[in-house]
Symmetry: C2
DNA sequence: GGGTTCCATATTGTATACAATTCGAGTCGG
DNA sequence: CCGACTCGAATTGTATACAATATGGAACCC
């Protein structure tokens, strides 16, 4: 898309992701426009996209605020992701061709490489991991599924805390990917669905455990994301 | 939201739904603005929303076209809807309170009333049916699920063809709703999920059968929506 | 003190003008 | 006849000005 609108989107998104804006903070169009060096018009576009991403919420009068997520909300998103990615894996298994399978194997090999160093290269891991899941999603061949998962997959919270994964968790992820590949090789949709769903669920609990250790949860059940 | 932007959204949506614009038609902002009696600014807002609804698609250079749906695409959407509504029903069953259950029973009673006349009052049926499913979705208490289902639930194709349901299908829908309610009354999440999922799947096949009888499918596998 | 009304201010909605880009027809050369 | 190129027309992107509306606090009444 266009330059200014994209820059606004990226800039605001980054500010939210990095925690520069805390959940609940008000986001005025004028202020954002100045901060991004563009006019309000592309900012409004960006805000619409960010709303779709659920990174911001809007009041009845269209005022924007940084979304805040309760632990329940986060669990919720992971649950949906587990379901949708499981479904994607099932469809992918039924449609898998040998070329894609080879590509997935290569991708997971690189994942292993990222983990084998010490300390592990987490950024590379995340990039390859994203690629792995993207390949599967593509193989699922469902336009709507792509749209749904896109809105669920890149959540701010998850993104920021992936760095807290331990080496053991990273390694286990690779093993689970292997099992997904085995299911693909046998075109076993149910197996692929089950293992993928469980893969995502484990990721959530790893996240929740790590996060519980790092941040306090106040009496209302909300946790600080910053 | 604001008046002009809403009017643009509603007007364009209606034009697509009614078939005034055929799938594949180009939608210029200027032309739409004039047709809606507003300027391009609110039209651009509306187009963004319609894109999220997947009622229109956009090229790499942001030109807009009325989306066209293959039979596979439609099957796809129903499959996702079956999964998501099944999940919603499961969560709803686990959280169901007596007041909501009573409201659902009343709602289904009205559904029956809409069917009992001859000819059946299809508009009333659709309205109450929407209410029934909305109540369940609300009880599921998942913000993200609401967002996902919203983008899947009101598809143009489905909406327009619901009128083709036969009296027998309408009656069966009520019975299936009864079974969902029975599952709710027992707080049996798995049962609720299974019956709801099957409810949606049956709706799809009823739609597909009715539609196959009414419209031709050309050699590319695409079907006319108008 | 608690609540209400009112108004200045801030914020969002819309229209319009203009810049940047894209599309496609027509042309030229092979 | 086909393909690459060019340029005018059409379309989208952005900035800005102004209108409409919401917000928050001060003044006010009970």
């Amino acid at each position: 898309m266009s330059r200014a609108s994209d820059r606004a989107y990226g800039t605001i998104r980054e500010m939210i992701m990095s925690g520069e804006f805390a959940p609940g903070d008000a986001l005025g169009e004028e202020a954002l426009a100045e901060r991004c060096g563009v006019s309000r018009t592309p900012v409004r576009d960006a805000l619409r996209r960010l709303e779709a991403d659920m990174l911001i919420t809007r009041t009845g009068t269209q005022r924007s605020f940084v979304a805040d997520w309760s632990l329940d909300d986060i669990a919720d998103v992971f649950e949906l992701r587990a379901m949708l990615e499981g479904y994607a894996a099932q469809r992918a298994a039924e449609r898998m061709d040998d070329d894609t399978l080879k590509a997935l194997r290569a991708c997971n090999a690189e994942l292993r490489k990222a983990v084998s160093t010490s300390p592990p290269n987490v950024d590379l891991f995340l990039e390859r991991n994203r690629e792995f899941h993207a390949l599967i999603l593509e193989s699922a061949a469902s336009r709507k599924l792509v749209a749904l998962l896109a809105s669920v997959i890149e959540q701010p919270v998850v993104w920021r805390t992936a760095h807290h994964y331990g080496e053991e968790e990273l390694r286990r992820s690779c093993s689970e990917h292997d099992e997904v590949l085995a299911a693909f090789a046998r075109r076993d949709g149910d197996w692929a669905e089950a293992i993928m769903s469980s893969h995502i669920r484990r990721a959530f609990h790893a996240y929740a455990d790590a996060h519980r250790g790092l941040t306090a949860i106040d009496k209302s059940g909300r946790m600080r994301m910053a």
